[in-house]
């Protein structure tokens, strides 16, 4: 008598289930065709996606059409697009103070500059880091871990660590004082605080993107570099002609992810600056959170309208980037 192997033991119940569902599935395929089967297998996933993504989106949109401070939809009045009109009521969009919801437009402006500066600087640093980590370095694994470590930290921890460093009686000022320099109030100066939010955000997330780029670098065939070396191609030309074009798909993923993450920035900055000084680091997500949940007499309708607008911008940006990516792919095929 032979002893059954572990794999056959594990597979036994699965095979039993397969035998049971085989006949009905064959009948279903006969009736619906291959397209119908695809829909059948996708249905559970789509159901979960519908419940947890689409339904909240629809509910959020409905909220944006209602007014009042109550949370239950049944207790809220339908007011059409009044929340959107309120957000757009502005004499000059470049001067938030001329808008009725000045905090919203301040947050839009801050988010715009944050996204532009943070995404571009982060991708640049992630690319440089990945290029360095891809070289033959001593203790390469250790350095990879060092750069990836901040990604593992909770955003609240990131915010608190940097607050302790940057506050008036923080580590940075202590260091400056030791060198005979005057301490500075980094977190109460508008420009320095904004720069700090970008720096901290890059520090916290760069490792993740560097890892994606590093994976892309390692996927580039070595023989291309060997051929370039044999041809005596300069390193800069190798980078522009081989590395960068072949990294393009990875960079596109990085840009899309970094951009979405950047527009949604909230937790570590909320802990670090609370949106201050004044409103200089007030970003869209914080505006939505405070309007909908944290201010006296919350306004969930206005917060919902702002989040619909933010979501629309994100979708448009993602579609543009995917379109650019697709065009690049098609060019490559031709």
């Amino acid at each position: 008598m032979t002893t059954p192997s572990l794999s056959s033991l594990i597979m036994a119940p699965i095979n039993a289930v397969m035998r049971i569902i085989d006949a009905p599935l064959r009948r279903l395929q006969k009736a619906t065709g291959i397209g119908g089967m695809a829909a059948f297998f996708l249905a559970p996933n789509m159901l979960i996606f519908g419940i947890f993504v689409l339904l909240p989106l629809v509910i959020n949109f409905v909220y944006s059409m209602t007014g009042g401070t109550a949370f239950f939809l049944s207790e809220r009045d339908f007011i059409g697009g009044a929340q959107y009109s309120r957000l757009f009521e502005c004499q000059n969009y470049l001067d938030p103070m001329s808008c009725q919801e000045d905090a919203f437009w301040t947050a839009v402006g801050n988010t715009f500059w944050f996204v532009v500066l943070q995404v571009s600087l982060m991708i640049l640093t992630a690319l440089i880091t990945a290029l360095i980590l891809n070289r033959e370095l001593a203790a390469r694994s250790f350095w990879r871990a060092v750069f990836f470590f901040p990604v593992l930290l909770s955003p609240v921890v990131v915010g608190l660590i940097w607050k302790w460093i940057l506050q008036r009686q923080g580590l940075l000022n202590f260091g400056l004082y030791q060198f005979g320099m005057d301490p500075y109030t980094w977190l109460t100066d508008r420009d320095w605080t904004f720069a700090a939010t970008i720096g901290v955000s890059i520090w916290a997330h760069m490792g993740f993107y560097a890892l994606i780029i590093l994976a892309g670098l390692q996927a580039i065939p070595k023989d291309l570099y060997e051929a370039a070396e044999m041809d005596g191609t300069r390193p800069a030309r190798v980078f522009w002609r081989i590395t960068l074009p072949l990294l393009a798909p990875n960079l596109l993923v990085v840009v899309v992810l970094a951009l979405i993450k950047s527009v949604q920035v909230f937790d570590e900055i909320y802990v670090l600056t609370g949106g201050g000084p004044g409103t200089s680091t007030l970003f869209l997500t914080q505006y939505i959170y405070e309007t909908g949940f944290a201010s006296a007499l919350r306004n969930p309708g206005l917060a919902a309208a702002a989040s619909i607008l933010m979501g629309t911008v994100l979708v448009v940006l993602t579609l543009i980037q995917l379109g650019i990516g697709k065009r690049g792919e098609n060019k490559g095929k031709r």
Binding site: A103, T185, T281
Partner: protein, 422 residues
């Protein structure tokens, strides 16, 4: 047979866990000082005396009470009992304990003075009781004043007197700031009222900022610009986010700190023997020398599935002897009339400064203005506070002029009133 035994066991375990759950009373609690520890001890004693009721004390940050609890309540959830400060704003969520408590008259007699603060307008509901009565007031770093050779201003000193004296101390002792006020609408309302401000319009809704309010706010912004008042704490956040300047005072960075009675235990614990400090009450303005009353209440939440047990817990914690012990151990001013009238509170502190400070706050209650006493029970207080903090914070950060801030404060409040009326 084996399967049947297993199922029976599971069913019994399930029954046991359900019955334990039925006796659970969950309290959401936050702490400013040592009251979390005191409460934990009292909860333990309660459960020994009432073995059928399991009280779960959830110690949370104040921001959870301020920001997350209201959302939970709106959704019809939340704890069974909570310690809150927005007691009027959220009053529609509180359970009416009147038919549930052992002796409603005891509650009326002893907690009646603040009952209106925590019940919907026009009702005679018993929602809970104040775990502490607070009063805003100032603290001076006596050591800094002494070292600078500047006398501490007397009881009738004005805000200008304090600003001038603190500025002298700052310059002499090279501390970063002379004065600081917590980033809080409640705190800054005290000097506004002393300058004659009145928030409440004739229709009971918010009135536009009047001369008294504008005068003090203009002065406050001027003091921040010339470095007399710390603007760090006011610009350190956007919106109406609360920030205390207590750490600056504790670290000896301030000559004068305006906060409130709830800081006594915190200061006593953290300052220790590092320097001498004194509570000085509220400075005067042209209209009054008032502080702002307030406090935290322990209230029952109407969405509880366990009303009877909740009432037993509330009755136990509202007992005179328990309120007295709680106040003595936490160094809080009690909100129980019987305890106040009988006096003889023996605050449990080795710190003589803390005991003296508490007596100063008890004395200061005598100068609390009528306008100040009305605000804790006024529906729109938090709306006005939030607008003032938001716009003055922006002004201090250099984002707007003070006159624009006044216009914005009025329009923000008007918009909120309009939103609430939809």
């Amino acid at each position: 047979m084996k399967t049947r035994s297993l199922l029976t066991g599971l069913a019994l375990a399930l029954l046991a866990s359900t019955s334990a759950h039925a006796g659970d009373v969950r309290i959401m609690w936050y702490s400013d000082g040592v009251e979390g520890e005191v409460m934990k001890d009292l909860v333990g004693r309660f459960m020994k005396e009432n073995p059928g009721i399991n009280v779960i004390l959830d110690n949370v940050a104040y921001s959870v009470i301020k920001e997350q609890l209201p959302v939970q309540l709106e959704a019809g959830n939340g704890p069974d009992i909570a310690r809150v400060t927005a007691i009027k704003e959220l009053s529609k969520h509180w359970l009416d304990l009147r038919p549930l408590v052992k002796d409603a008259k005891y509650w009326d007699d002893n907690f009646g003075l603040q009952a209106d603060w925590m019940r919907p307008d026009g009702s005679n509901q018993i929602s809970g009781f104040m775990t502490q009565i607070t009063l805003t007031g100032g603290y001076a770093n006596k050591t800094l004043f002494d070292q600078a050779g500047v006398p501490i201003p007397g009881p009738k000193a004005t805000w200008e007197d304090w600003a001038a004296a603190s500025k002298k101390v700052q310059e002499s002792q090279q501390v970063p700031f002379a004065m600081a006020i917590d980033r809080s609408g409640h705190r800054i309302t005290a000097p506004l009222l002393s300058y004659g401000a009145n928030y409440i319009g004739s229709d009971g809704k918010p009135a536009p900022l009047d001369k008294g309010a504008r005068d003090y706010l203009t002065k406050f912004v001027g003091w921040a610009e010339d470095g007399t008042v710390s603007k760090d704490v006011w610009v350190s956040a956007a919106g109406s986010t609360y920030r205390a300047a207590a750490d600056d005072f504790i670290n000896g960075q301030l000559a004068f700190y305006y906060s409130g009675s709830w800081q006594v235990a915190n200061l006593a614990t953290k300052i220790g023997n590092n320097f001498d400090w004194v509570a000085v009450g509220s400075p005067c303005g042209p209209a009054a020398c008032t502080g702002m009353p307030g406090g935290a209440a322990l209230v029952a939440v109407k969405y509880t599935k366990n009303q009877k047990d909740v009432a037993v817990v509330m009755d136990w914690f509202a007992q005179e002897k328990i309120v007295k012990e709680f106040s003595e151990r936490t160094l809080f001013l009690p909100g129980h009339k019987g305890v106040v009238d009988k006096g003889g509170l023996d605050f449990k502190s080795d710190n003589a400064q803390a005991k003296t400070a508490l007596n100063v706050f008890v004395d200061s209650t005598k100068t609390t203005s009528e306008a100040a006493l009305k605000l804790p029970g006024w529906r729109w207080s938090d709306t006005v506070y939030a607008a003032i903090v938001t716009r003055i914070g922006q002004t201090l950060a250099g984002e707007m002029k003070i006159d624009d801030a006044f216009t914005r404060i009025d329009s923000d409040i008007a918009q909120k009133v309009k939103d609430a009326g939809r």
